[in-house]
Amino acid sequence: MTDTQRSQGLHLGVIALLAAAFFILPTYHVGNLSRIMVLAIYAIGYNFLFGYTGLLSLGHALFFAAGMYGLGLSMELFDLSAAPALIVGLASALVVSAVIGFLALRTSGVSFMIVTLMFAQAGYLTILYFGSYTRGDEGFVIPQADRAMFGFDLSNDTTRYFAALLLFSICFLAVARLVQSPFGRTLIAIRENEERARMLGYNTVSHKLKAVIISGTISGLAGAAYALLFGYAGATFATVQYSIFPLLWVLLGGAGTTIGPLIGVIFMFYLIDLSSSITSAYMLIAGVVLVLLTLFAPQGLAGELRKRVFKWMP
């Protein structure tokens, strides 16, 4: 069996496992997995830029929020139905990421982190400033009756789960394919040594801009999907905290691995969920576990697996 076949087997296996989980797991965990898959889309988007291109953004909440508000506001203010609103959400994230990418890629390294952080903060304050439309920090509910697409009620547990699985699978497989394409290989080359890639004749700025746009649009899809599937859009999702989350998920799961984002989200979700039922100081537990993982598994869970056991892992 070739490495490519193994990779494909792994990806399809993960999707099959998630589909089977719906029938096997108790209701509570099924609900959690719906949410985890949507957040994993966000982490996949982040991983594309950070794990494969080597650009550490601290402003991805802006792209997540662009998708969320693109969808939410078009439904709230213009009465669009779910399908066109989802397209508006995606388009919003695409435009915002293109503009931010164009401006922020004039910097690199720490400056890139700071510039993306500042843009995201500006985005958050913009949402508050236009509170008459966005309802600011309070946010707004997307009515249950409007959350339907192609005849499916997306507020129903079953359809929500499979809608999340469908979106997750598309992003998961597409990114897995993309990072193994010549374009993806070039991004990895840029991550490893940008000067060398440029010397070899690649337009690294153009590649990085495309990476920001793809990453931002996938993140925006996650934001739009969250609003659509869970019925709420709010400025909290544009705060810096929601820019840090995908970084943590990807670092824990394994940056530059295809299954790392999903593993990272599952790990963090249940770390918080389980430790919060033990103590109110659960963030302390989470912090200690994160420090330990960083010390003893610096490449993240999937990264360590790839390093020690499955060297073929994509």
Binding site: T27, Y28, L125, L128, G131, F140, V141, D153, D273, S280
Partner: protein, 432 residues
């Protein structure tokens, strides 16, 4: 009304088919999430999922909401529980975060098998959680004071029977301000939804009283210094209305005092700014002689009711509104009574509906919707209430207090009628 599309393919349906076909019913029913509430015994506790701000920006409120809730549940259990069954609290931290809030609601419904969900103050957590409560058909009793419930933005499963909403509170203040403090008002408020609610509702209310807002000063939420905003206060201002919240409020008051010195206009604020803050803190001297809205008077008044005294003792609050164990630990007295009163409404609703288990959730909601007047009593120590079953919102008395030597002394109590406004929704027309 939009009809919700039916989904024929349900998880439970699939499970049933599989189980019947293969004889796997034994295996599937052993799974904890699938067993439902079928094994519930009539003597089993009524489980109330308590969504609490243990961490995040609402933690100070959460601490006192928790104490009040624990005290109220103890009292209910001491009186024999609900329908002869003890009440069990299942508390989960929502992190004052809407995403976590929704997850907690889901946990109450599908893991803890709670009968209802209850609690939480911050509006964005309510907004984030209410859709899930509606989808899970879990009655969700909030103690938030937001206008979200009565505005019609939520759903039939979300109710606010224990605390008046901000629109009503603000509206009830306008006559007192207009008649006693002045008609030309400058508003200073945080530039987010809570502040915007005050701006919009008060502007309309004071105009109805023949007054006007001469300037609205929105302060960005990230601001830490306020002096630069004060020159925008017009000279004609007779009253300053402030609703600043968050850790910067001490700086705000100090800088306002330095700006005006001894010759300030009348000053009226919402105590939300200073909940859990000792009025004798350094820098707050300037507040002496100013007025505050209070949801429930923090300091025991000369005419304190026996109901307030009993409530204070049960929760563990002294006459100055601080913890009996630590005088520095000041309560959120203007809001936390809502937990006490809401739990008593839940008790009454469950008793009226003869609530036995989750199958009776709709009957519980209908029983609460049928409620109206709630007299001042040990169940309602803050004051009488009038619940509007159509809007799922209660209305009550509000208190206007003057700071005098570091103590809040009630100057005026509004009537329930002062805070009434036309219905914006009729939830009873929505199907379950």
């Amino acid at each position: 009304m939009v009809t919700k599309p039916e989904t024929k393919f349900t998880r439970r349906g699939v499970l049933k088919t599989l189980a019947a076909g293969t004889g796997a019913i034994v295996a599937t029913s052993a799974l904890p999430g699938l067993s439902g509430f079928a094994q519930a015994q009539s003597s089993a506790p009524i489980k109330i999922g308590f969504q609490v701000h243990r961490t995040g920006i609402g933690a100070a409120y959460g601490r006192w909401y928790n104490r009040t809730t624990v005290a109220a549940v103890k009292r209910i259990n001491d009186m024999g529980g609900i329908n002869g069954r003890p009440v069990e609290l299942v508390a989960e931290d929502d992190g004052t975060d809407p995403k976590r809030g929704a997850e907690v609601i889901e946990k109450f419904a599908t893991q803890h098998n709670c009968d209802i969900a209850f609690g939480t103050l911050f509006s964005h957590v309510v907004y984030g959680s209410a859709p899930r409560a509606g989808e899970l058909k879990l009655p969700y009793f909030v103690v938030s004071e937001g206008h979200h419930v009565a505005s019609g933005k939520l759903n039939r499963y979300t109710l606010q029977p224990g605390i008046t909403d901000v629109k009503s509170q603000v509206q009830a203040m306008a006559p007192f301000i207009s008649n006693n403090l002045g008609k030309k008002v400058t508003m200073i408020f945080p530039d987010f939804a809570f502040g915007h609610d005050h701006r919009d509702f008060f502007t309309a209310a004071i105009e109805a009283q023949g007054g006007q807002v001469v300037e609205s000063i929105a302060i960005p939420p990230t601001e830490t210094s306020f002096s630069k905003y004060f020159p925008r206060i017009p000279r004609e201002t007779e009253v300053i209305y402030h609703v600043m919240v968050g850790p910067a409020v001490l700086t705000f008051v100090k800088e306002l005092g330095e700006f005006f010195g001894p010759n300030s206009p009348e000053i009226f604020g919402f105590i939300d700014s200073l909940e859990a803050v000792d009025l004798n803190s350094p820098g707050l001297e300037f507040l002496d002689g100013t007025y505050f809205w209070e949801g429930n008077p923090r300091h025991a008044q000369a005419d304190q009711s026996s109901h307030d005294a009993a409530y204070r003792a049960a929760v563990g609050v002294d006459d100055s509104g601080a913890s009996l164990e630590d005088a520095q630990d000041v309560s959120t007295y203007s809001h936390m009574f809502g937990c006490w009163e809401t739990l008593n409404v839940i008790k009454r609703g469950m008793e009226t509906a003869n609530y036995q288990g989750p199958a009776d959730r709709q009957k519980l909601i209908e029983a609460v919707e049928a409620m109206s007047d709630m007299p001042l009593s040990d169940d309602h120590p803050q004051g009488a209430k009038r619940f509007n079953g159509k809007t799922h919102q209660t209305f009550g008395h509000q208190y206007i207090s003057k700071v005098s030597d570091g103590k809040l002394v009630v100057e005026h109590t509004t009537s329930i009628e002062d805070g009434l406004y036309p219905d914006e929704v009729d939830y009873t027309t929505q199907s379950f």
